[in-house]
């Protein structure tokens, strides 16, 4: 018991610091999980998949068929329909999408952009 009296404040400090440090892997793994579940965009026309777009690098991609033009833009891990030659322009007004589960639809052209997690796609297979 005599020894317990010799405990210094530093001892408790060490215990507290160690406990705090021990929880850091949770944040690391949490972040890396997000990286692992990258969202990608799947473009479907007439319910057929025509293109997969990664949201990692900025790009513009144009789809054209029978005079129906849709242009999508990827920037800062977000995607939007930048232009289309359809009547209602609903897809263009939708604006930026980035979350898994979001969709951009252009009904007149039956043009659909679906955002999905990479993992989900693997599960589908």
């Amino acid at each position: 018991m005599e020894i317990l009296k010799r405990l210094k404040p530093g001892d408790f400090l060490i215990v507290v610091i160690l406990l705090i440090i021990s929880f850091t892997p949770f944040f690391m793994v949490h972040n890396s999980k997000k990286e692992g579940n990258q969202v990608i965009a799947i473009v479907k026309v007439n319910n057929r998949q025509v293109k997969k777009l990664s949201l990692d690098h900025d790009q513009k991609w144009q789809y054209q068929r029978d005079g129906k033009i849709n242009i999508v833009q990827v920037k800062n891990h977000k995607i939007r329909a930048i232009d289309a030659n359809c009547k209602d322009q609903v897809c263009v007004k939708e604006g930026w999408k980035s979350k898994s589960g979001d969709t951009i639809v252009c009904l007149p052209h039956k043009f659909l952009v679906e955002l999905k997690n990479e993992n989900q796609i693997d599960d589908d297979k």
């Binding site: 020894i3 210094k8 160690l18 440090i21 892997p25 949770f26």
Partner: protein, 181 residues
Amino acid sequence: MTETNSYLRTYVFTGILCSQGIILSVVEQMFPAPFFFAPGARLGLTNIITMMALMILPFKDCILLTFLRLVLAALMTGGTSTFFFAAAGSFLSLFLMKMFLPLVPRFLSIIGVSILGGVCHNFGQLLIAVLLAQSKYVLLYLPLLTVFGILSGTIVGLVSSFLMHYVDALSFIKGIINKGI
């Protein structure tokens, strides 16, 4: 003459500590493994010996002692995986305890240093587990291991305090020991 004697004493003392360390590892093997996910991971009772060595012997002898103890204990009890787990844990805790030992009488007590050593012992083993399992998710066990490390470190610290009390009484060691511990 006296110089030779002091060399001799250091070596003999290294040998004694080494054999005690091996005995402790053998005893430790008898406990059920506290961490079921990492075969070869152990509590770190041998930190008692590391602690004693750090306080009595020069640092290069401590490294030698730790190495000898690890090799001999691996030959006697475990396999290569045990050796790697134990080596990572022991050396990590050895170096960290060496770094923090100078703070002992003023800012820390010996128990604080051994808690640090105990946690580092577990952390080193966990790093090896990460390498072997090729998965960083093993690191999620760190909080659990830290609690274990703090408990075993407290025990180690108490035991080595008591031991130092007796070792201090040995005439030839007097004066070498870091006073105030």
